[in-house]
């Protein structure tokens, strides 16, 4: 008497797919050979088949007679409600609205940027303002007294001089022409 070929766990998992014709041919052939040689495998296959056939007795409710009519009525009501605009107009409306929203966003960003520049003090601003003084700082320091400068301004003795602080080059003796 030949020993019964028992199904492995893996093969058992393939039985349902085999019954549904969802396994490749070579696996189906292997399973058929196993099933032919095993009474327990045959019993298992038979039980799976019978269980599956029992599902034919599942209660299946049918739609009420006015189901399709009611569905269409609901649809008509819902279609009427949301927008009185025709589809194309609505679609263009959405596009224009989106573009307007993007433009408004860009303007808002620009304004925010400008405001932040205007409100936050520029650290270079003071230096730029004082630049004319800084450029002549050495000359102002040479004067030493502001009162003296003011007095000089009031007396206007240097009015005719284009630049009172201009350094005058004094000619060297050896370059003087012998006269």
């Amino acid at each position: 008497m030949g020993q019964e070929k028992r199904l492995t766990g893996e093969e058992r998992q393939l039985l349902v797919a085999y019954l549904d014709n969802e396994v490749p041919e070579e696996i189906a052939a292997m399973l058929e050979s196993k099933i032919a040689g095993s009474a327990s495998a045959r019993r298992e296959v038979e039980e799976l088949r019978r269980t599956w056939d029992l599902l034919d007795f599942l209660p299946m409710p049918e739609a009420s007679t006015d189901f399709s009519q009611r569905t269409i009525e609901v649809l008509t009501q819902k279609e009427k409600r949301p927008s009185p605009l025709p589809g194309a107009v609505k679609s263009w409306g959405i596009k224009v609205g989106s573009a307007a929203a993007v433009i408004a966003g860009l303007i808002a960003c620009f304004c925010l940027g400008w405001a932040s520049v205007a409100v936050v003090p520029d650290p270079n601003h003071e230096i730029v303002r004082d630049l004319p003084v800084l450029e002549r700082f050495d000359e102002y320091r040479a004067v030493q007294s502001l009162l003296f400068v003011r007095a000089l301004r009031d007396l206007k003795p240097l009015e005719d001089i284009e630049d009172p602080f201009r350094t005058v080059e004094v000619p060297q003796n050896d370059e003087q022409s012998p006269e």
Partner: protein, 215 residues
């Protein structure tokens, strides 16, 4: 998938599936075609949802929502694959969402009963108390048998139930079921294998000698 392959699938669907033709007419705002589609599929959609949610009235409401979504999505519909695959994808999503919502907001049982399932008194509990014969060995009437099988199906997980319904009653391939349930074919194979083994175990006493299974 390449564009050419997509176009081929689209062409195949258009020529082979008459329901795709109907849906293309719905896309052109043909109300009669929509009504025809509803009538063609209403019982099938209600049947699948009923075994997911376990309540005929809720199943009909959800089925109506399925068809409303089909109509609302008509402009974006592409005739790729079978129409039924698209329809049952919507059905699956809606049914699973409804079950999830119900789990978040569990229904209160006004009777305060504690030994009933989520779908009300378990059919087998009702049968057990019915004076219809000696237990455990008995021959069930057809109505009783339906309830036993329904109760057995309710023991499966939601995903197993959906896979079983699509496989058994919509005669769908594992590939189609995988597409509808957004799973791999291997996952569907495993779902169906476990579902049918569970059903076999539950219904084993009934299959052997007609006795009431323990659920």
């Amino acid at each position: 998938m390449s564009v050419a392959a997509d176009n081929d699938t689209e062409l195949d669907s258009k020529t082979l599936d008459p329901d795709v033709q109907l849906m293309l007419r719905v896309k052109e705002d043909d109300a009669a075609a929509f009504e025809q589609l509803v009538e063609l599929y209403q019982n099938r959609v209600i049947g699948v949802i009923y075994h997911m949610v376990g309540n005929a009235e809720e199943a009909e409401d959800l089925a109506q929502e399925v068809f409303l979504r089909v109509y609302r999505s008509r402009n974006g519909y592409k005739p790729v694959g079978k129409f039924s695959t698209w329809l049952f994808t919507i059905t699956n999503n809606l049914a699973l969402n409804a079950i999830r919502d119900r789990k978040r907001r569990p229904l209160r049982d006004p009777s305060g009963g504690s030994d009933s399932g989520p779908l009300g008194p378990r059919p087998l509990e009702q049968l057990a108390s019915a004076p219809s014969g000696a237990m455990p060995s008995r021959i069930f009437a057809k109505g009783e048998m339906s309830e036993i099988i329904r109760a057995a199906v309710q023991q499966l997980s939601e995903e197993q139930r959906m896979a079983v319904m699509l496989n058994k009653f919509e005669d769908m391939s594992y590939r189609q079921i995988a597409e509808i349930m957004n799973k791999s074919e291997m996952a569907v194979k495993s779902l169906l294998s476990r579902a049918r083994s569970t059903l076999r175990e539950i219904l084993d006493p009934y299959l052997r000698d007609g006795s009431l299974p323990e659920i």
